[in-house]
């Protein structure tokens, strides 16, 4: 009962990266998780499913990121006593995921924080929407319940509640600061305001239409999520997409990364009192979005990735346009970067602000961009490349400082690298079709799709049900890993710096709330 168990009993899991699945009992669940943790694995995500109609059981799945592959542990949980061992001790990200699983499915981890997370009172606490016997159309009168925030006692400590509606045009969430003077002693987040019942909604869609919902889990990461969904579906169906499709998808993903990073770089300048940065970068972003519309039909590339292919092809003229645009963006970004780097006032605000130290990032299991700004060398395009990234050989950005300045630098580095990758993709675009048939899928099989989006790794775990129906679909955004790290990064900073620090993380609300 150890990692050997995985080696011996692990069954290959259909996915766009190497992945294995192994059924465990409760004792093995805990033991294997501990060994995986000791071996340096990270917990990618955790989800549950109601299979009582099939075998009288619930199931909990834990997906771990081990070097070079994904390992999914699967634990059956009795339908009449739905409790499973908590993974919170070794993997802090499990805490909120376990609370969410309870809110939606009514299966509980045996220890840890038991407060609701996604359920704010909109549905009764003894009703569980993701259970098969819960009718999706059920409307409950919303009753908002007071949420038991953790109180910080002490002389001169007071609380500042912020949200769910914020001053700027951003997503809803609530932040509760405990401060002395202006200094933050503690931040507690309350999320879930954008919960739209995505997982339940998937179950009403045909397999071949789920990508449209995946594209709308998190609008700024629409390419990443729709690719992850299509990759999971294609793996299940045994469909192979053409090299041209893979290249165009990667081009879309890199354009999404560039557009978001460029937008953030402008907003970060602005939040640090440098409106010039916002003007320049937002104009740059707008030009990219307009070219997206011209070439790909939609400004954010929404619904560009479809099962088996992409919605539209490019021709020699549009390839030329894109290549020329790349040259222009690169020239502008290099110039603006020099201005940012030399601007003393800006660097003064960036440096040292909102520091997430490498050691906390490691224990918290930080993901993606935030992790890479705090010394965590992990980028799925490099560590677990799926087509076409194996051939592209991308380089991962890495900074050790963990402050706002580091997150700014990682964005600059990644824009430059994405521009390079985009150019390679366009110059070496393989010939071929951009649509492939996606055959019928056997029911009761699970497929995974993982993609390194601009924030970090996203995953779609897709289970096929009755012919061409979705039985269960779990989506994971790296913001689950990274929201708790903001609580650490803000400690000791002053409240007026929070917008800048929060923006430097720029985590998802909708993508997290589901």
């Amino acid at each position: 009962m150890s990692l050997e168990l995985i080696a011996q009993e692990g069954r290959r899991l259909p996915a766009n990266v190497p992945a294995r699945r192994v059924a465990v009992d409760a004792q093995q669940w805990t033991a294997v998780a501990r060994q995986l943790q000791e071996a340096g694995a990270g917990l990618f995500t955790l989800w549950g499913a109601d299979d009582r109609d099939r075998d009288g059981m619930f199931h909990v799945f834990a997906a771990f990121l081990v070097p070079g592959e994904l390992v999914v542990l699967e634990l059956a949980v009795a339908g009449d006593r739905p409790v499973y061992p908590s993974l919170e001790r070794g993997f802090p990200v499990a805490a909120r995921l376990q609370r969410a699983i309870h809110d939606l499915l009514g299966i509980r981890a045996d220890e840890g924080d038991a407060r609701p997370w996604l359920r704010h009172g909109g549905w009764p606490e003894d009703r569980f929407p993701l259970r098969k016997d819960f009718d999706a159309a059920t409307a409950c009168p919303g009753v908002s319940r007071p949420y038991p925030f953790v109180r910080v006692e002490g002389e001169g400590v007071h609380e500042i509640p912020v949200g769910p509606i914020h001053a700027g045009t951003i997503e809803p969430g609530h932040f509760r600061f405990s401060v002395v003077g202006e200094k933050v002693l503690r931040l507690e987040e309350r999320l879930g305001y954008a919960h739209k019942g995505v997982a339940k909604r998937f179950e009403a869609l045909p397999l071949l239409e789920g990508h449209r919902l995946a594209a709308r889990v998190c609008g700024d990461s629409t390419v990443a999520f729709s690719w992850a969904y299509c990759a999971a579906l294609e793996a299940l169906a045994g469909a192979t997409v053409s090299p041209r499709t893979a290249s165009l998808r990667a081009l879309a993903l890199e354009r999404e990364r560039i557009a978001n990073h460029v937008g953030d770089l402008g907003a970060l300048g602005n939040d640090a009192g440098f409106a010039f940065g916002l003007t320049q970068f937002s104009a740059l972003k707008e030009r990219m979005l307009r070219l997206n519309r011209e070439v790909f039909g939609q400004r954010y590339l929404m619904d560009y990735i479809v099962p088996g292919g992409v919605r539209s092809d490019v021709g020699p003229r549009t390839v030329r346009l894109l290549l020329d645009e790349g040259v222009g963006i690169e020239r502008d970004v290099v110039a603006l970067r020099a201005i940012y780097d030399e601007h003393a006032g800006l660097q003064d605000r960036f440096k040292g602000a909102g520091q997430l130290t490498p050691s906390i990032a490691k224990t918290q299991g930080a993901f993606g961009l935030v992790g890479r700004a705090s010394g965590i060398e992990q980028d799925l395009r490099v560590t677990m490349p799926w087509a076409p990234y194996g051939e592209l050989r991308p380089t991962a950005a890495l900074r050790m400082e963990g402050d706002v300045a580091a997150r700014v630098q990682v964005r600059f580095d990644e824009v430059m690298e994405s521009l390079r990758l985009s150019r390679l993709l366009l110059e070496q675009l393989p010939q071929g079709s951009t649509s492939a048939p996606v055959a019928a899928v056997d029911s009761d099989r699970i497929g995974l799709g993982v993609v390194e989006g601009w924030r970090g790794p996203v995953m779609v775990a897709l289970e096929a049900g009755a012919p061409s129906a979705i039985r269960r679909c779990h989506v994971h955004d790296p913001s689950w890993q990274n929201w708790p790290t903001v609580d650490h990064a803000i400690i000791g900073n002053i409240v007026p710096d929070f917008p800048l620090i929060n923006k430097s993380f720029n985590l998802a609300y909708s993508g997290h709330d589901g």
Binding site: P129, G168, A194, K285, Y300, M302
Partner: protein
């Protein structure tokens, strides 16, 4: 500093670029002028994300980039609904945001307008109504206009502002 000035000079004033008549820039300017004429003062907008996917937010944010230059046209995004003429609402109204949305609407001064943005705000979009969503904004608070699209492009948003402010007497 010299770098910055050079860049500003090179970038120019984008929303002012000499446009041909059918170019978006010309339409943008026409809308700006109209809003000024009708209101004679800055129009104030409060945005509420009532459970959007964040796609609509990206386009609302785009309105402030130099190409649409909303702020330059005397339209301001304000931090409180108490100071707003218009509530710009996105999302299929999540159950968890319903109360906050109603409260924001209640404290707005009259006359007030509500614009439901995006397919989600206009009709519930792909999320529809469920245990977690109430669907279109109009089922939660009174709506003056809708801007369909997923997400609607900035131009469509600008045109909607033009449309509802053309009838300022009838929110």
């Amino acid at each position: 500093m010299l770098n910055i000035i050079k860049r500003i000079r090179r970038t120019g004033i984008l929303s002012d670029a000499p446009p041909e008549s059918d170019q978006p820039e010309a339409r943008v300017r026409g809308i700006h002028e109209h809003l000024h004429r009708v209101f004679g003062r800055a129009l104030r907008i409060r945005h509420v994300d009532a459970g959007s996917c964040n796609g609509c937010e990206l386009e609302i944010q785009a309105l402030t980039n130099p190409y649409y230059n909303l702020e330059g046209a005397g339209i301001a995004f304000v931090a409180s609904p108490r100071h707003a003429d218009i509530l710009l609402v996105t999302g299929p109204v999540s159950v968890n945001m319903e109360e906050a949305l109603k409260r924001a609407y209640d404290v707005m001064p009259e006359p007030r307008w509500v614009i439901a943005v995006g397919d989600c705000g206009a009709c519930g979009g792909i999320f529809g109504t469920s245990y977690a969503t109430r669907g279109r904004v109009g089922d939660v608070i009174p709506v003056s206009a809708t801007v369909p699209g997923c997400p609607p492009e900035p131009m469509a948003l600008l045109q909607c502002l033009l449309h509802i402010t053309s009838h300022p007497g009838q929110p």
